[in-house]
């Protein structure tokens, strides 16, 4: 209880200092000006490994030291004493519309769903709002990188990976236009007639028209003779066929995933399944075809009445044990501040702790194609990491105290903390 009270006080002090600035989203942090060392923390590397009593140092935005702390000379560093604390690579939110929406049910603030079925050319990146009031609340829980994703129609558009402390979308871009997202046709779908799952009568037609488009795109991309008429939609697909972009298929049922795998194979595309509720039942197929999975929330209901009640909690462990390349996603935008608990939930059901960390850091980085720069505490990578008072995966102890993006120490204040302080002030005055 004592510890909690201390936490309470320290947060309070931090917040009060930042309060006057926070009517807006916080000011992006300046570039790293001096080497920083975090000393004594348990470092969760994101690789499946951890170092107790570690020394993590970074300079000019890059990680320079990842080692057990054994009395090394740290005189040149600005030191963060973190004994008893934890260091994690910045968590990565895949498949989110963070920054593409500010307020639900308020269409004027929403920019993730373009009209029409075939929109591979639309780009989430340019709609990404760096000034969102939501983003600071998410990064305050350790999420420092996000893949922002459009969602509508069949071919929804292109996502981008952004870092969450920027002046504008150009600054934010960490990997621009990383892939094309498909809301895959569903073999079975909800029917109002039976109030249940029923055959989708248009399924075959939907699959065919998707394949027709892919065929046209592949033909277009394979024939780039001079003077050819430009087609933006087909043009946007070319990266899928040369391997520079990923084919993100949003699908949950085994039937739909099977179709997606066939399709990706036929057209030679790098497939990532997003959702993947049934992935646990087709692990061999996923492995054989080298398909990665961004799992949906673990904190979800099982898809079927007869399912093991804990199935979504167990799904990451099942994929991990089967050797499938996977990472953990969640849902929505503001909800992503609970990303770490999606991993924690899986730990409760048998996923090794460090693997759970990997599932929201390095695994995600690999699947999104940014593992050369982010996702783990490894020398040479961007210093995207944070310090937490407690276990960041646990709902009773997560508490980020310092967070760095490319070595820049970001402001952890947010609108919600400001409101907290504002109304604490109200009640404090009433006591006077």
């Amino acid at each position: 209880m004592m510890k909690n009270t201390l936490k309470y006080i320290s947060i309070l002090c931090l917040s009060v200092l930042a309060w006057p600035l926070a009517a807006q989203a916080p000011v992006p942090a300046p570039a790293q000006s001096q080497p920083i060392a975090i000393v004594g923390a348990t470092a969760h590397l994101g690789t499946g490994q951890a170092i107790e009593n570690s020394l993590i140092a970074f300079e000019n935005g890059k990680i320079t030291v990842v080692a057990p702390f054994s009395g090394q000379d740290i005189s040149k560093y600005k030191v963060i004493q973190a004994q008893g604390k934890h260091v994690y690579p910045g968590f990565i939110a895949p498949d989110t519309n963070l920054g593409l929406i500010e307020i639900g049910q308020t269409p004027a603030t929403q920019d993730y769903a373009e009209i029409g079925d075939i929109n591979p050319n639309v780009r989430a990146l340019i709609a990404y709002n760096t000034d969102s009031q939501v983003t600071p609340t998410v990064r305050g829980m350790g999420v420092l990188i996000a893949q922002i994703v459009p969602s509508s129609g069949v071919l929804s558009g292109q996502s981008s990976v952004v870092q969450l402390d920027a002046w504008n979308w150009e600054d934010a871009a960490y990997l621009a236009d990383d892939g094309v997202h498909v809301s895959f046709p569903n073999r079975q779908r909800f029917s109002f007639a039976t109030f249940g799952l029923d055959d989708n009568p248009q399924y075959d037609e939907q699959i065919k028209s998707l394949k027709d488009f892919l065929s046209d795109a592949k033909s277009y991309c394979g024939n780039k003779s001079a003077g050819k008429e430009i087609n933006l939609k087909l043009e946007a697909m070319c990266g899928l066929f040369d391997g520079s972009k990923r084919f993100f298929v949003h699908a949950n049922s085994a039937q739909d995933m099977t179709q997606a795998i066939l399709m990706a194979k036929e057209y030679g595309m790098k497939l990532v399944i997003v959702g993947g509720a049934d992935a646990w039942m087709m692990t061999e197929q996923l492995k054989t075809n080298n398909v990665a999975v961004i799992l949906g929330s673990t904190q979800a209901l099982p898809g079927r009445i007869d399912d093991d009640v804990d199935l979504p909690f167990k799904a990451p462990r099942l994929l991990h044990e089967a050797g499938v390349t996977y990472c953990l996603g969640h849902e929505g935008y503001w909800q992503y501040r609970n990303l770490s608990f999606q991993a924690g939930q899986a730990v409760g059901f048998g996923l090794p702790y460090e693997e759970a960390v990997a599932a929201i850091t390095l695994n995600t980085a690999k699947i999104l194609g940014i593992a050369d720069r982010a996702g783990s505490l490894e020398v040479g990578k961007d210093a995207i990491l944070f310090v937490s008072d407690g276990d960041a995966l646990d709902s009773r102890s997560d508490m980020v105290t310092h967070a760095f993006i490319q070595g820049r120490e970001i402001d952890l204040n947010n609108k919600q903390k400001v409101l907290y302080e504002k109304f604490k002030e109200k009640y404090a005055r009433m006591k006077k």
């Binding site: 309470y8 307020i103 079975q188 007639a193 085994a254 039937q255 209901l301 009445i305 007869d306 009773r396």
Partner: protein
């Protein structure tokens, strides 16, 4: 030997018959008296004798070599010793069977086709709002109420429609128009083709109900609970109408008149049967219930309704489960029901439930006999089946004097079969309706089966005839392996044959007559030359290879399902869905030892302590406890708490969580629609939840009354409710009630200004209503105002959905103006801004730990809300409003530690003791205190942790969830699914019809905002 007495009796009988006959003639003439005759009168006596039959005069009275004598549409005599007048037209029915024609109590035969209103409809936010009926005239305010509709006034004979059921042996139906919640009255009509005047047997038999709005496009009701409330209100309105002089209401007039009839209620499942029965109980009505065929799933409760039932035999087809992935969408419950549906009638009979069978709901009428045979194979006796199709429906419809058996004076409604009616080889020859025959098959068709020598000109052939008299199968045997097919037709005694003696060389065509194995005539050979032929029977036919399945009736094979079942059968579990149990778990004595005990009492958190559960209560909490006979559970390293209580839940409710058509729906009650078959009950037990307030949604300012339940998985709906709990009601403010996401809405209110007025107005009306009641003057009982009167008199307590501080403040002020207080604000995401005012008002706050940004009115929501309200002395709970979150509310409580630093022990109360207080249940629940209900959870870890798993969950000392048992049940679910899948595959291979795999009755997880119309036809 005929005794003198018998002789005398016969004379007397003839005399009385003569009298009857006169009367009958008169009445028949009367029916046509008003019709002029164009030509010469042609009335006929219609005297027929059916002799040598095996006659079922009643379902249980079989007479061999009997005679049935009918005259002028009525039965004159039936039995073994009937004297046949010499001038009667005689049918010799040697070897044939005669049965009373069946009666179907569930039909819309002859009523006008139901036409949907063209305009309106839609779902969710796309719906069109229609507040009042658009039916012209002085009728009910709600279009789904049609007590004034009388089937007999709208009845027209339809030869085409009559034939369908009549061909199955039905001679009469109880018909009504199947449209609406109150559907008006039904008539018993015959399935003959005479004038309507003669086909109506009984004009007004019953008033009919359903929980389905039908073609009405009026918005209200949108939910099952709304339909229930509408019916209850109408009963009260009927009572009021009798003693008032203010208005004429043709619907209520009809309603009151119809109350003297029988009352029939159509339901969709056994839970609805109980709901209908409960309405009936309130108004002294015992409904005849038209069930869904799943009554076996809760036999005890179904029987306890005291109702008679009309039971369909529309058993589901097997699912086509060949695709293992697609098969997954079919639930265990659906598969079990496929296997067990045919056992329903037998189980009902065994339990002593009175029921009639109906052909209603059969996709293919031809399946009727096959399915009845399935029921017979599964425990129904043939006698019971026959009774449920004859005497029982006749009695239930009050027409046993005319129909249901073949006794003197009753209508000549019967049918003739080739063998016992439920025998799969039997054929129906004739169906007689009111003395008029309808011929399905020629009763005199000779049986040609046998081996013949066929001589055509000078050539002799070996002719083998198999098949049935109606459909003989003829082949000329050339050798053991080859034969020539002979085509034949038999019409009015003349037989024609044709065949091709040599392939491609032309046909021989023959025509002739004959009998008893000798046939002869003339014909032409392929060259056109005329020649004589004859065929002489030599003996029995050689069995044909590849004979058709004997189960064939009207062309469609019936699979093996009619056979006596062998091997394992699915078990009826409680609930019927996956993870149900064959027997309900009972309370035990448990000593949980050596855990970390979160008492939620002054003792705080005890280390290495024990909890003793006995007789459903917490008996002791402390160290080193012992108890003789207790089951000891070692909880070393584990945490023991009282159960999680969800103040805001929408699970376990059937067909709609909002009755959102009007600004106030205080009359509806979630308690009327508790759904025991919701898997989320079990899932939440696995998350340590033991009690929930099932709240109405937030579609309107004044919602409906809450259902407070304990998660007694498997117990009947009424037994899930918390006994003696205070009544609660849902209110709501803000964007949902303004219908902000529904641009086209015309429902008042559209602003927060209007929201205040709705409350002020309704509370004012409630106060006036209360005053009127007290004055002793007569008044119209209004269920909506009854509930609101309770609110203003502080006898019913408010849980109010709310977000912004302004509206929260407003609600408290309106309540204070009307002298009550708001018990709980739920959601209350800006409660932190007015926590001081809430504390002063005495309102609690049941909120989300961290939700925000999902709509405009929550952009200032903060996760510190709980901590701030708590600090101001508001009783704070964290709730779910979400079937997923509810199963980890323990973690949500943890977030009060992260956001705002609430001490763990205090945070834990946010999901246990505090919601208990808000629900006025803290005397019984919410802490581990001796004497309180033994709602106890054993956790693997600190319960606030994301890693904590509920390992065992007890409600009232009954262990409803156990992680080890769960692992076992998962295996059982898997193996039972597999067994049923294999059986369905076999059924498909055996030629049974199948249906596409589809998850019927998808589990619906409701949230506050769900607005679908759940009781519309489409």
């Amino acid at each position: 030997m005929i005794t003198l007495i018998q002789l005398t009796m016969r004379v007397l009988m003839r005399l009385s018959l003569a009298v009857l006959y006169l009367g009958l003639t008169v009445s028949m003439l009367k029916a046509q008296e008003t019709y002029p005759v164009n030509g010469v009168q042609d009335e006929r006596e219609g005297l027929y004798a059916f002799t040598n039959a095996t006659l079922f005069t009643k379902y249980n009275q079989k007479i061999e070599k009997a005679t049935l004598l009918i005259r002028d549409g009525k039965i004159e005599a039936a039995g073994a010793n009937v004297t046949v007048p010499s001038y009667a037209i005689v049918y010799d029915l040697k070897g044939k069977y005669v049965y009373p024609a069946f009666i179907d109590l569930y039909s819309s035969y002859g009523t006008p086709e139901i036409r949907r209103d063209a305009a309106g409809g839609g779902r969710g936010f796309n719906r069109t709002q229609q507040f009042e009926t658009d039916k012209p005239g002085a009728y009910a305010w709600n279009k789904a109420l049609k007590p004034e509709f009388r089937a007999y006034e709208n009845f027209t004979v339809s030869a085409k429609d009559a034939k369908g059921e009549r061909d199955l042996g039905f001679g009469a139906v109880l018909t009504h128009q199947m449209d609406g919640i109150c559907r008006g009255t039904s008539a018993v009509v015959l399935l003959g083709e005479e004038k309507e005047h003669e086909m109506i047997v009984s004009e007004e038999v019953a008033q009919h109900f359903s929980f389905n709005k039908g073609t009405s496009r009026q918005s209200y009701p949108t939910s099952l609970m709304g339909a229930i409330a509408l019916l209850r209100q109408t009963y009260y309105d009927g009572q009021w109408y009798k003693n008032q002089h203010e208005e004429v209401n043709l619907s209520l007039e009809a309603w009151n008149k119809n109350l003297g009839l029988k009352q029939v209620f159509e339901v969709r499942d056994w839970q609805e049967a109980l709901r209908a029965a409960k309405i009936g109980k309130e108004f002294g009505v015992t409904y005849i219930i038209k069930g869904d065929g799943d009554e076996y799933q809760r036999l005890d409760e179904v029987k306890a309704t005291g109702s008679s039932f009309i039971i369909p035999v529309n058993f589901p087809d097997a699912f086509d489960v060949e695709d293992p992935f697609a098969a997954q969408s079919v639930t265990l419950a659906q598969m079990k029901h496929w296997e067990l549906a045919p056992t329903n009638a037998g189980r009902l009979a065994k339990a002593g439930v009175n029921f009639a069978l109906t052909a209603d709901g059969l996709r293919r009428p031809a399946d009727f006999y096959g399915n009845v045979r399935k029921a017979i194979a599964q425990g129904l006796t043939e006698e019971q089946a026959l009774r449920a199709l004859t005497e029982t429906p006749a009695k239930m419809a009050g027409v046993e004097a005319e129909l249901g058996s073949l006794e003197k004076g009753k209508l000549a409604n019967f049918f003739i079969t080739s063998g016992p009616v439920f025998d799969e080889k039997s054929q129906i020859y004739h169906v007689w309706v009111k003395g008029k025959p309808f011929i399905l098959k020629d009763i005199d068709a000779p049986d040609l089966a046998g081996q013949y020598t066929l001589t055509v000109g000078s050539t002799a052939y070996k002719l083998n005839v198999t098949g049935t008299p109606e459909k003989p199968d003829m082949k000329i045997v050339v050798s053991d392996t080859s034969s020539i097919t002979v085509k034949q037709t038999m019409k009015n005694g003349a037989l024609t044959l044709s065949f091709e003696p040599e392939k491609g060389k032309g046909l021989v065509r023959l025509s002739g007559t004959g009998e008893k194995g000798k046939w002869s005539g003339r014909g032409q050979d392929p060259s056109g030359a005329w020649l004589d032929w004859n065929a002489v029977r030599q003996g029995d036919a050689a069995p044909a290879n590849a004979d058709k399945a004997p189960g064939e009736r009207r062309g469609r094979p019936q699979g093996g399902g009619e056979k006596k079942e062998e091997g394992a059968m699915a078990k009826v579990t409680y609930p019927f869905i996956a993870f149900g149990r064959e027997t309900l778990p009972q309370a035990g004595t448990y000593l949980i030892k050596n855990g970390t005990v979160w008492t939620n009492e002054a003792d705080g958190i005890l280390q290495n302590a024990d909890v003793l559960i006995r007789d459903g209560k917490i008996a002791q909490v402390g160290k080193n406890l012992s108890a003789a006979g207790a089951t000891v559970i070692d909880a070393t390293g584990k945490h023991i708490t009282s159960g999680v209580i969800d103040e805001h839940s929408h699970i376990a409710a059937s067909r709609g969580i909002n009755e959102g058509a009007q600004a106030s729906s205080a009359e509806v009650r979630i308690g009327d629609v508790i759904n025991t078959e919701d898997i989320n009950i079990y899932r939440q037990l696995a998350g340590g939840v033991t009690a929930s307030q099932i709240l109405h949604g937030s579609a309107n300012p004044i919602g409906g009354q809450s259902g407070l339940i304990k998660l007694r998985w498997g117990y009947a709906p009424e037994k899930m409710k918390i006994e003696g709990a205070d009544g609660f009601i849902k209110f709501a403010l803000g964007e949902n009630v303004k219908q902000s996401s529904f641009d086209a809405s015309t429902r008042y209110p559209r602003t927060r200004m209007g929201v205040e007025q709705v409350f002020d107005d309704m509370f004012t009306r409630a106060e006036e209503y209360a005053a009127l009641k007290k004055s002793g003057k007569s008044y119209r009982r209004d269920l909506e105002l009854d509930a609101l009167q309770e609110v203003v008199e502080s006898k019913r307590f408010v849980t109010c959905h709310s977000y912004q501080q302004g509206e929260i403040n407003m609600m408290m002020k309106v309540a204070e103006k009307h002298h009550f207080h708001v018990n709980t604000f739920t959601h209350i995401l800006e409660g932190y801004k007015v926590a001081d005012k809430m504390a002063k008002h005495g309102a609690g706050g049941s909120t989300f730990s961290d939700w925000w940004a999902y709509k405009f009115e929550v952009i200032e929501a903060i996760p510190y809300n709980g901590a701030l309200m708590n600090a101001q002395g508001v009783t704070v709970a964290f709730n779910s409003d979400d079937a997923e979150m509810a199963r980890r509310l323990n973690q949500e409580a943890g977030k009060a530690v992260i956001f705002g630093g609430v001490p763990e022990e205090e945070a834990w109360k946010f999901v246990t003791l505090n919601p208990a207080k808000l629900l006025h249940l803290d005397k019984r629940m919410g802490s581990l205190k001796p004497g309180k209900d033994a709602d106890v959870v054993i956790w693997s870890d600190n319960p606030l942790s994301v890693y904590a798993k509920a390992e065992k969950t007890f409600v009232d000392g009954i262990k409803f969830f156990d992680r080890e048992e769960d692992a076992q049940m998962q295996k059982e679910v898997a193996s039972e699914r597999n067994r049923l899948i294999q059986k369905m595959l076999a059924a498909k291979q055996g030629g049974e019809g199948t249906q596409a795999p589809r998850g019927r009755r998808f589990n619906t997880e409701y949230t506050c905002d769900d607005l679908d119309d759940e009781i519309s036809e489409n």
